[in-house]
Structure formats: structure tokens, C-alpha cells
């Protein structure tokens, strides 16, 4: 996604947050936790606009698309909270190798923002996700 002058795109901000907070080498548990926090913030920002169901539907589609490269993202774990798709998705990260989990987490976020941008346009997508991206950038 193109970047607005002076501020990183939401995708860049999310990647940067993940990269900074999951340790080096990446820790799969940290990847899952940081990812879930990010997803919760994204959902909180988008749900008032497109509805909880809208967010869930987009997340489900992003998960499906990202699982082409990371098939295990679509494979439910035995004890995951099925009613909470974001918690389930992030839970699948923590049982993986740290590097693979980080790549998959980034791919999932990227797919989600790309998907949103194709539906409502880059400008509005960035506009809606800007508060999350700015908060992440500042932290």
C-alpha cells in the first residue's frame, strides 16, 4: 500500500511493531501475543464502521488467503476458542517456530490491509487504520 507523506502506512507500522516486540530471534509466543493486541486494536477501530461481523468476515477471508502460503494458519488447534476467530488465529502462531510465526503474522496483517484497501480504497483504508498505526508508531 502506498505511504502517506510523513507517516508510515498501517501495514508498515504493523510490521515494525511486530519486528520490534517479538525479540531476536523471534519468539512464537510473543508473536502471537503482539499480533492479538494489534488485531484487537484494528477490530476496535473498524467495528464501529463496518460492524463486528464485517471485521470477522474480513479476518476470515484474510486467514484463508494467507493459509495458501502458511497452510497451518487454517488448521484449528484442539483447544482454541472457536467463537473468537482472532484469538484462534493468533493461537495457531504460538505453536510454530518463531521465524515462521512472525512471517505468517506479517503476511496475515498484510493480506488483511490489502483486502480492505481493495474493497474501500487505499485512502479510506489508511484513514480508518491511521489511529492504530499512529499509536504503534509512537509507542
Amino acid at each position: 500500500m502506498p505511504t502517506n507523506a510523513g507517516s508510515p502506512s498501517p501495514q508498515e507500522a504493523f510490521r515494525s511493531t511486530l519486528a520490534r516486540r517479538v525479540g531476536q530471534p523471534p519468539d512464537a509466543w510473543a508473536v502471537a501475543e503482539v499480533s492479538l493486541v494489534l488485531w484487537r486494536r484494528i477490530a476496535a477501530q473498524l467495528a464501529p464502521v463496518i460492524g463486528v461481523r464485517g471485521v470477522d468476515a474480513l479476518f476470515g477471508r484474510a486467514l484463508h488467503l494467507a493459509s495458501r502460503e502458511y497452510p497451518w494458519l487454517a488448521q484449528p488447534l484442539a483447544d482454541e476458542p472457536r467463537a473468537d476467530p482472532m484469538a484462534s488465529g493468533c493461537g495457531r502462531l504460538q505453536v510454530r517456530d518463531g521465524t515462521a510465526a512472525l512471517e505468517a503474522a506479517m503476511a496475515l496483517l498484510g493480506t488483511f490491509t490489502d483486502l480492505l484497501a481493495t474493497l474501500i480504497g487505499t485512502t479510506l483504508c489508511e484513514r480508518l487504520l491511521a489511529p492504530v498505526a499512529e499509536a504503534e508508531h509512537a509507542s
Partner: protein, 497 residues
């Protein structure tokens, strides 16, 4: 001291709508926008929101169970008025899908009020309020709840000094919904499909405290959003001051001899019908009228309905249009309303300060009008001519007239009575040759020639010859020569006969 409250009227930003509403939308009013799916409710709501919202007037757009919000965002962005940079900066969406899904009005109301209290908006849109409401046939206890919900919502939004719009699929033709009595304003959108043309219509069914324009108004949705064409009253469109021509002023027709036949030119402000068969030179006469106007500093407008203008238009028209001396409205649409043409014409007349208008031809016009309006074509034509007369312009209309040698008719639209002057053109046979004759049939309240004149069409345009007193039965198509009178045919100005 004047204790009366003054209601501030908001400009809606929808071309044509403010005049229908009687000057704009009352501030703090509680309005319903209703209509069937696809009638343009959500688009109208968004257009209003982007026009009305601003830094001092934030807007909240509540979405519920109707159209998925993602789709609303996606499709509304296609309109020019939609500025994504204003989302979350003066304009905020709030989805109440979860609350609406419970079917409990108190939860929906609480959700709305929570968002209202949090952001103190000046504008609130609820799309769609009927998705959570039972219809009129629902059990009375539930309907009462729904009624109370809307009533409470109306009271709350008004007391918060909010101008609000509830959007819903509700047809005014159905049993009146109780909420219609609560609302201050009720705009109903509809669309009718007849044959292969679709016409969109808007009606202000109610607007408290101001004189809105009754009747059904047509509108069109383009990339710019909605554009409303107020139904024109014979007195003329609102906001257009009539620049009536001076009494006694006459317009030159640009064809030597014709002014004399009309009694000294066409009286300014008159409507003239030029009727004749195909190829008789109606367009040529109209072109001369416009070109003469340009020559005299009287701007004109040509309203044409030609499908292939480049092939059929006179080079003079091309030149005048290209140089900006002549206004042109050429429409190839086949779903027009007369109000749309009147609106375009009115705008152009004002912009160009035009005094001459040519409508070429009524046959093309009738084809361009949506089939649903064709039944009223005559009435609409009357309204249009009245509006143009109110604007003080002089109108020339051409009408294709099949040559009938058994009766004398001037128009197939019965439009002869609504014009002030009529020129009729005809073919006659003289000595196995097809000749053309014309006559001035009528010039209201003016002396005019009553003679049939032969005329010819040359590279110079229409050349009118003298009268033909030595022939009779010309209108029957087969004139007979009267040998006792001078047997010379009227000689044309260029020496031809």
C-alpha cells in the same frame, strides 16, 4: 421584540433540491428518506452528509442491518462528493448491527445515544431504521414499541439540536406508518420503469414550517450524485427572475421577406411553431433565426435531439457553437423528463443571457422523453412553453408535419394552440415540379400576411418569393392556374421560379 423562532435553513448541496424544499432543509429537523431498494436513498443521505457536515457540524452515520457497511463505503466512494479524507474527521460511521440484531429497540436507542453523547454531532443519519422495525401489520404491542422508539429518537435528537435523517425502505403508497406523523420532513424517492426507460422521482410528502414544492420531481443519479429537476410550474422555475422583453419589440428572422410576412418580425417573447413536411426547410429557418440573433447580439440556444448531429447540422450551427456564440443542448438520452430539459435550458439561458431558443424538433423531443411521460407530452410542452415565456425568451419550435392535402393541420401534438405564432410549410405540384410554399398562419395580437408565398432552398438559405395570387387550391397540393390573372409564377429573389 420579535419572539418568533427563526428556523435556519441548510443548503443541501443537491442541485435542485433546495428550491423544492422551499429554500433548504430546516435545521434541527427530524427527516425521513424513504423509497424502495435502489431508489437512491443511501446516495442522497451521503450527498447530504458531505454537503452539510463540516468542522462545526460533525456528522454520525449509523448503519444497521441493511446494506453491509463495507459495500456502502465501497460504492459511495464512486461519487464525486465522497471525500475519504473526511471520514473520522467530521464524519463518522457507527455500526449498530449487533444492537439491531437483538431486535430490541431500547438497545438500539442506547447505542445511538451513547454515540451521540460521545461526539455531540450536529447531523445524524440512520440507515436503515426500518430494518429493525416491524411493518404496520405487526402485532400492536410490538408496533407500539417501534412507534415509541422512533418518537423517543425524534425527541432526543431534536433536543440535542441535531438535524437527523432516518433512511428506510417504505413506500408512501402503503399504509401510512406511524412514524410519518412524527417526522418533520418526509422525502420519498421512487423509480418507475416503463418499456425500456427508467425514471427516478422525488416527492416531498411533508415538510413542517415551510412551503415545499408539491408534485413529483424527477432526478438523475450521475457520478456527481443526485441532481433534482424541480417540476416546473407554468409561472416559471423558482429563483429565476423574468426578464420580460419590451412591449412591441420584434425579432428579425434572418430571412428576407419573412419579417414582413410576420407583420414586422416575430414579437419578442412569443413562441413560434414552424410546421412542415420532411425536407421543407424547418431547420434551415430555425438556423437563420439563431444566426440572425447572434448577428444582432441576441444570444441563442439550440435544443436538438439529433442522434447524429455532425451529419445533419448546418455548418453555420457548428461554427456558432464552436465559437461559443450559440448554446447547444443536444441530448441523445431516451429517458428524459421535460423538467430536466427545462432545468438545463434555464441554466443555460441565465448563463448566456439568451433571448432566442430553438427546439428542433418536437418529434425528436417526444422520442427523447421517457415513455412514461409521453402520454402527458402535450401538457408538459405547455408547461415548458409557459416557463420559457416567463423567462422572456422567444422560442421557435419545429414540428414534422405530414403533408395532408385533405385537411390543414399544424402539429401532431395539438401544440398549435399553445404557440403564439405559426408558420406552415408545404409542398405543391406545379407543372410536374415539386415547389415549396409557406404561409404565416397566426401571429397572436398582430397583423400579418395571409398570403401563401413560394420559397426555395439555396446555398444562401431560404429565399422567399412573392405571393401566388394566380393559383388556387395550393393547400390541396394540386393548384390550378387562373389564366385570367397574370400567368407568371411568383418570381424568387434570385430570378428563379
Amino acid at each position: 421584540m420579535n419572539d418568533k423562532v427563526l428556523i435556519h435553513r441548510l443548503a443541501t448541496g443537491v442541485p435542485g433540491l433546495d428550491s423544492i424544499l422551499g429554500g433548504g432543509l430546516p435545521e434541527f429537523s427530524f427527516n425521513l428518506i424513504t423509497g424502495p431498494p435502489g431508489s437512491g436513498k443511501t446516495t442522497l443521505a451521503h450527498q447530504l452528509m458531505f454537503a452539510l457536515a463540516g468542522p462545526d457540524r460533525p456528522a454520525l452515520f449509523f448503519t444497521m442491518l441493511g446494506e453491509p457497511p463495507l459495500k456502502v463505503l465501497r460504492y459511495q466512494q464512486q461519487f464525486a462528493f465522497y471525500d475519504p479524507d473526511r471520514i473520522n474527521a467530521g464524519i463518522r460511521y457507527v455500526n449498530l448491527g449487533e444492537e439491531a440484531a437483538t431486535g430490541r429497540f431500547d438497545q438500539v436507542l442506547a447505542g445511538i445515544m451513547q454515540a451521540v453523547e460521545a461526539s455531540s454531532p450536529a447531523l445524524v443519519f440512520v440507515d436503515s431504521f426500518l430494518s429493525i422495525m416491524p411493518g404496520p401489520g405487526a402485532p400492536s404491542a410490538q408496533a407500539l414499541d417501534a412507534h415509541q422508539f422512533i418518537q423517543q429518537l425524534g425527541v432526543l435528537l431534536s433536543s440535542w439540536r441535531i438535524t437527523s435523517f432516518l433512511i428506510g425502505e417504505w413506500s408512501s403508497e402503503r399504509e401510512p406508518h406511524p412514524i410519518a406523523s412524527i417526522a418533520d420532513g418526509l422525502l420519498n424517492l421512487s423509480q418507475s420503469v416503463y418499456r425500456n426507460a427508467m425514471v427516478r422521482k422525488l416527492q416531498v410528502l411533508k415538510l413542517r414550517g415551510q412551503a415545499s414544492s408539491p408534485g413529483i420531481h424527477t432526478f438523475r443519479i450521475t457520478g456527481e450524485g443526485l441532481q433534482v429537476f424541480p417540476a416546473t410550474a407554468p409561472s416559471g422555475p423558482a429563483g429565476v427572475a423574468a426578464a420580460l422583453p419590451e412591449l412591441g419589440q420584434r425579432l428579425a428572422m434572418g430571412i428576407p421577406g419573412l419579417d414582413a410576412m410576420l407583420g414586422g418580425g416575430l414579437p419578442a417573447g412569443y413562441s413560434l411553431l414552424v410546421a412542415g413536411p420532411s425536407g421543407s426547410g424547418k431547420t434551415l429557418l430555425a438556423t437563420a433565426f439563431l444566426a440572425e440573433g447572434v448577428r444582432r447580439g441576441e444570444p441563442g440556444i439550440l435544443v436538438a435531439f439529433e442522434q447524429t448531429p455532425s451529419q445533419s447540422w448546418d455548418p453555420t450551427i457548428h461554427r456558432l457553437v464552436e465559437s461559443g456564440q450559440l448554446g447547444l443542448i443536444n441530448t441523445r438520452l431516451l429517458d428524459l423528463s421535460i423538467d430536466e430539459i427545462v432545468q438545463q435550458l434555464t441554466d443555460l439561458i441565465r448563463r448566456m443571457r439568451a433571448t432566442r431558443v430553438v427546439i428542433d424538433s418536437l418529434s425528436g423531443f417526444e422520442l427523447a422523453v421517457a415513455p412514461t411521460f409521453r402520454e402527458d407530452f402535450r401538457e408538459q410542452l405547455f408547461r415548458m412553453v409557459s416557463v420559457l415565456a416567463g423567462l422572456g425568451v422567444t422560442v421557435l419550435m419545429t414540428s414534422e408535419l405530414e403533408d395532408r392535402y385533405t385537411d390543414l393541420r399544424f402539429s401532431s401534438y395539438g401544440s398549435a394552440f399553445l404557440t403564439d405564432a405559426i408558420i406552415v410549410q408545404r409542398y405543391i405540384e406545379v407543372g410536374s415540379c415539386l415547389k415549396r410554399v409557406l404561409a404565416v398562419v397566426k401571429v397572436r395580437a398582430s397583423a400579418h400576411s395571409d398570403e401563401l408565398h413560394q420559397y426555395a432552398i439555396s446555398d444562401l438559405g431560404i429565399l422567399i418569393g412573392g405571393p401566388m395570387p394566380d393559383y388556387e387550391g395550393l393547400l390541396g397540393g394540386h393548384p390550378t392556374h387562373k389564366p385570367e390573372i397574370d400567368d407568371r409564377m411568383a418570381e424568387l429573389p434570385d430570378g428563379r421560379r
